[in-house]
């Protein structure tokens, strides 16, 4: 995997992020229960879960670093290495694959010149395969950063990626499911 330089940064949290972590700590009867949401805040801050993040979370929550490490490795949404500026997840589970998941993945690979699991040379995109994302009826679909894009074709995906590369973030609503009103 290529390692984009811009994401290797030490953990520095903004006052707002610090405040969010304080608030998270207040929600649970134990400090440890704040572990998963706190890791999310840190990952949001620097793009991945670095050794710094693990040390910080361990110290903040009174856990051993090995315990935090054990949590991080169990879950797939923590990036254990730096990723591109945008992460593109292509759902490849059955319902999506029946409707073109593989075609979408191949199209993304061709466009980006890298395989699933890799980051583009310029550090813009990391491409990953996802397991079912609870959008099965709106297949094929991808998740880009924190948004779902559904009912895709290679052309629609291209249009979205073009805009994202220009700095825009298309809303989830643009491609989203709409309620069935047939029987109401």
């Amino acid at each position: 995997m290529t390692t984009p330089a811009q994401s290797i940064a030490p953990l520095t949290l903004t006052p707002d992020q610090e405040r969010r972590i304080d608030e998270i700590l207040g929600r649970y009867p134990t400090r440890r229960a704040a572990c998963i949401p706190t890791l999310h805040v840190c990952q949001e801050a620097i793009g991945w879960v670095s050794p710094d993040v693990i040390a910080y979370v361990a110290q903040r929550l009174g856990m051993a670093t090995s315990e935090v490490q054990g949590v991080v490795t169990f879950y797939t949404m923590y990036h254990q290495a730096p990723v591109g500026k945008h992460v593109l997840w292509v759902c490849r589970t059955l319902s999506c694959d029946l409707r073109g998941g593989k075609t979408i993945q191949e199209h993304a690979e061709k466009r980006l010149g890298c395989h699933a699991g890799e980051t583009t040379k310029d550090g813009t995109w990391t491409l990953k395969k996802a397991e079912c994302l609870a959008a099965c009826g709106y297949a094929p679909m991808v998740q880009i950063d924190d948004r779902f894009y559904e009912n895709l074709t290679p052309e629609k995906l291209d249009a979205l990626m073009d805009r994202i590369e220009k700095g825009e973030m298309p809303t989830q609503e643009e491609t989203a499911w709409v309620p069935n009103t047939a029987s109401s």
Partner: protein, 476 residues
């Protein structure tokens, strides 16, 4: 097309349906006011029992009975935990509630907390569902501001709080005890049962874990009364499978999506009426997975065999499996499960070795690894299917799939292993010829593409050709 009135999803089409103002104008929080203002917890529990809500998370356990297992010791907190981990392949219904009508879930939590004596709810949402999390958090804030949550909801001296808790990406965290470990900040490994969560759940306290849709149904139960709500079901009351629910349909149909209908419509109605029928007129239905990928596949040509008039299935003797009402017990009698009530439809273009290989890869990836039969079995199933697909297999590998599956069942900590083995067995039993053919000559490149039949339409027929030849190859 049958014409049913939407109840659970009636607010979905409203503009800004996720805001309190819109939801309340359309009836939200009326039932909570009624419940907290005029009913005792006992009365609410009785209505929920009478409603015959079978848990919507997949196991179909009666919600009223589950609530009845609570018996907290003095000084113990009681927790309500909402399972919003929605990760079972094929399942995408809970998300619609959280995105379009989060206040229905919040209201359900308020009524349920009051009924079971809880002061705190944790809604465990898989973190990929960012919009769901945002809408729920906003809804909780709005409800607080209105005084529907907080120290005295609806004037009742019963403080309530709701915490929206994100997961971190692990299918197994949908299993309720794994979810509790994950909530506590541990690795999401399932716990041995007993003790059941009702005795020792979140943070060691008595806990009720319910699915999003289960709890979102509670306001309507309170509004209508348990029995009338139960009677919305098309099934006879003695089947104790009541109400209205969300159905999902994905795969090879013209109109995939989520639909609301009474409990007890048939798979044929779901596929051909709600789902608009098969995607392609020339490609008939080959198999349907009725309720998420852990439920064994059904074939349209299979008929119910229940000649004994005393059999609960006798009513449907001689009928296609597609014409049996979808209910917890009927599906079990067909050798499958109702599961999450979200069907995956596969037409004649699908190779079933490849379809099962897709799913077994998933289960292998998602097994938490605590139990040897599951850890080894899921991996071995995937390897064996890879062998068959690549032409390195032999006929005995088909029986090996059966042996591995049989050895996985019944001796593991959680139901993931059974949910892997049972579908695998059904695939082999019902499509054995295809597995034997794969053992003989492997799968052709087009057979290993589940999207072969739809690809041309997706990319435009002419460009499909050039695309295939230029694609960055190799990734399976």
């Amino acid at each position: 097309m049958p014409d049913y009135k939407n109840i659970l999803s009636n607010r979905y089409p409203l503009a800004q349906s996720w805001t309190l103002a819109v939801a309340e104008r359309a009836g939200a929080y009326g039932p909570a006011k009624k419940a907290l203002g005029t009913m005792t917890p006992e009365q609410i529990k009785n209505e929920v029992k009478a409603a015959n809500i079978r848990g919507r998370g997949g196991a179909g356990f009666p919600a009223g009975m589950k609530w009845g297992f609570l018996n907290p010791k003095p000084g113990q907190d009681v927790y309500l935990v909402i399972n919003a981990d929605e990760g079972e392949p094929g399942t995408f219904k809970d998300r619609t509630i959280m995105e379009k009508d989060p206040h229905r879930l919040i209201e359900g939590c308020i009524i349920a907390m009051y009924a079971i004596g809880a002061h705190k709810t944790f809604i465990y949402v898989r973190c990929e569902l960012v919009l769901s999390i945002q809408r729920l958090e906003a809804a909780v804030k709005e409800a607080h501001a209105k005084g529907y949550l907080g120290a005295r909801p609806f004037g009742k001296d019963h403080a309530m709080e709701i915490v929206v808790h994100p997961g971190a990406g692990a299918y197994i965290c949908g299993e309720e005890t794994s979810l509790l470990n994950s909530l506590e900040g541990q690795r999401g490994e399932p716990r041995l049962k007993p003790p059941f969560p009702a005795v020792k759940g979140a943070f060691g306290m008595p806990t009720i874990v319910n699915n999003v849709e289960t709890i979102a149904s509670v306001p309507d139960v309170v509004a209508m009364g348990g029995e009338p709500w139960s009677n919305l079901s098309l099934l006879p009351p003695e089947m104790k499978d009541g109400g209205t629910r969300l159905y999902g349909i994905s795969g090879h149909v013209l109109k995939p999506g989520v639909f609301e209908a009474p409990v007890g419509i048939t798979l044929r109605e779901l596929i051909y009426d709600f789902g608009g029928g098969m995607l392609h007129a020339g490609r008939p239905l080959k198999g349907v997975i009725p309720g998420g990928s852990s439920t064994p596949v059904l074939r349209p040509e299979d008929k119910v065999h229940a000649p004994d008039p005393k059999s609960p299935m006798n009513k449907w003797h001689g009928k296609s499996h597609l014409d049996v009402p979808m209910a917890v017990d009927t599906m079990r009698n067909l050798g499958t499960m109702l599961g999450t009530c979200c069907a995956i439809v596969m037409d004649s273009s699908v190779n079933m070795v490849e379809a099962s290989r897709n799913l077994m890869k998933f289960y292998h990836h998602e097994s938490c690894g605590q139990c040897t039969p599951c850890r080894e079995g899921t991996g071995w199933l995937e390897d064996t299917l890879n062998k068959l697909a690549s032409g390195r297999g032999k006929a005995s590998d088909v029986d090996l799939l059966v042996d591995i599956s049989n050895n996985m069942m019944g001796n593991t900590i959680c139901a993931l292993a059974d949910g892997t083995a049972m579908p695998m067995l059904a695939f082999v039993r019902k499509y054995r010829k295809e597995f034997l053919e794969a053992a003989d000559k492997g799968l052709s490149p087009s057979q290993t593409r589940l999207d072969e039949a739809v690809r041309a339409a997706l990319v435009g027929a002419a460009r499909a050709q050039s695309h295939a030849s230029h694609a960055v190859g190799g990734a399976a």
